[in-house]
Symmetry: C2
Subunit: 220 residues, 2 copies
C-alpha cells in the first residue's frame, strides 16, 4: 500500500494554528518513512507565502485559521501553483464548508480525530492526483452531486418549443412580459401566450415556479 511514499520523499507543509495540534501532526508525519515536513504555517497568509517559497508536494491545511481561512488560502495557492496538492484536515464537517473547500481546490478531506492511517491515505491519494474523502464527509459530497440537474424537470423543459425556451430563459432573468416582448421584437400579447404555454407544459401555476423548474433542469 505504501509504494508511493516508500520510493520517493513527499515534501509536506503543515498549516495549523493550534500549536499542540501542529506539533502532534509534525510528529506523526515526519516519523513516517517517505514523508518530510518541510515547513509550518499558523495562519492563511503564511500558508500561501510558505507554499510559494517552499513549493511542497502537499499542503496539509486546517480551515479555522486567523487572518485568512484555509478555504481562501487554498484558492490562492491553487491559483498560483495548481500542481500543489492540498489535504484539508479540519473539524468542520458542515456541508457548506466541505463543498466550499473542495470547490476551492482541495484534493482530499480529512476530519480531525481520525486515525493517522487515514491521513496518510489521504496524502498518498492526493500526491497521485487522486482524491480521498473521509468517511464522515464522503456521503455528504456524493449526495451533493445528485442535486444539480433534476431529470424529471429536464424532460419537461425538453418538451418546450424553441420560442418557448427563449421566453423561459428571459423569464429566469426576471424580465417582465413587456420586457420580453421588446427583447424578442414581439407583441406583449404573444409573450403572454407563450408564457401560458410554458406554464401548461411545465405544469406550474406561475412564472416563479417556471423559473425554478428551469433552473433545476439545468437551464443555467
Amino acid at each position: 500500500m505504501s509504494e508511493a511514499s516508500s520510493q520517493a520523499v513527499v515534501r509536506v507543509l503543515i498549516v495549523e494554528d493550534d500549536p499542540m495540534m501542529q506539533l502532534g501532526l509534525e510528529q506523526s508525519l515526519s516519523s513516517q518513512p517517505g514523508i518530510e515536513v518541510v515547513g509550518r504555517a499558523d495562519d492563511g497568509y503564511f500558508a500561501v507565502e510558505e507554499t510559494l517559497k517552499l513549493k511542497p508536494d502537499i499542503v496539509v491545511m486546517d480551515i479555522g485559521l486567523p487572518r485568512l481561512d484555509g478555504i481562501a488560502a487554498t484558492q490562492k495557492i491553487k491559483k498560483s501553483l495548481p500542481e500543489v496538492r492540498i489535504v484539508m484536515l479540519t473539524s468542520h464537517t458542515t456541508e457548506n464548508e466541505v463543498i466550499a473547500a473542495l470547490s476551492a481546490g482541495a484534493d482530499a478531506y480529512c476530519v480531525k480525530g481520525t486515525t493517522v492511517e487515514r491521513l496518510l491515505a489521504a496524502i498518498e491519494a492526493a500526491w497521485e492526483g487522486a482524491s480521498y474523502l473521509d468517511p464522515l464527509v464522503a456521503r455528504l459530497v456524493m449526495d451533493h452531486l445528485k442535486s444539480p440537474t433534476n431529470t424529471a424537470d429536464a424532460i419537461a423543459v425538453g418538451q418546450l418549443s424553441q420560442r418557448e425556451l427563449e421566453v423561459l430563459k428571459l423569464m429566469v432573468e426576471g424580465r417582465s412580459n413587456p420586457e420580453i416582448a421588446t427583447a424578442l421584437y414581439l407583441s406583449p400579447n404573444t409573450v403572454k401566450t407563450h408564457v401560458r404555454g410554458i406554464m401548461n407544459k411545465l405544469a406550474v401555476d406561475d412564472r416563479v415556479q417556471a423559473a425554478v423548474v428551469a433552473l433545476r433542469a439545468g437551464l443555467v
Copy 2:
C-alpha cells in the same frame, strides 16, 4: 498503510463481463493478503443477486455490463444493502457517467489501466466508508461541485432576517403573497412588506429574480 487489509479479511465480489479482465482482477486481488474474492458476476442482474446472497464487504463493479449496467446495479444494491461498499472500476471517464455512478451510491471510482495499488487504495478507502477518486476523474468531480452555490448570492441571502428567509422559501415554492400570509399566519400586507424587504436586500426587481438568487445561493 495496510492496517485495514492486514488485520481482517475483506470479502470482495467482482463484477466484470470481460472474462480476461475478470481473471486478471481476481488474480491481482486474491493474491493480496487480507482480501478474499468471494464471488464473480458478469452482468448487472447477477451482480445484484450475488451481492444479496453473499453479502460481500466490497463490490468491484464495471459500468459496461450486459442486461443491467453497473450504475443501475449499484442503485439496486445500495437500496437493499447500503452498508455494502461499491468500487467502480471502469474505462468510462465522461463526466455524466462518473457523476451518475457516484450519485447512484458508488463509494470509490477507479479507471481501468490504473495500477493495482490504486485499486487497493480505493478498496481500502471504501471499506472504511471513505471515498477514493482516481486522478483521471477527481478534478472532474470537484469541478462539478462548484456550480450549485454562488458565493456572492449566498452572501446576499445571508443578509436576510429570519422571517424574510421563511418568506423567501415560500416564494421559491411559487406561493403567492396571500398564500404565504395564510401559511405563516400573517396579514397579506405584512407579507408584502417582507417581500419588498427581500427584493431590496437582494437588489432585484421582482420575485422571480429573488427566487433565482435564492436557488443559486443554495437555498434548496
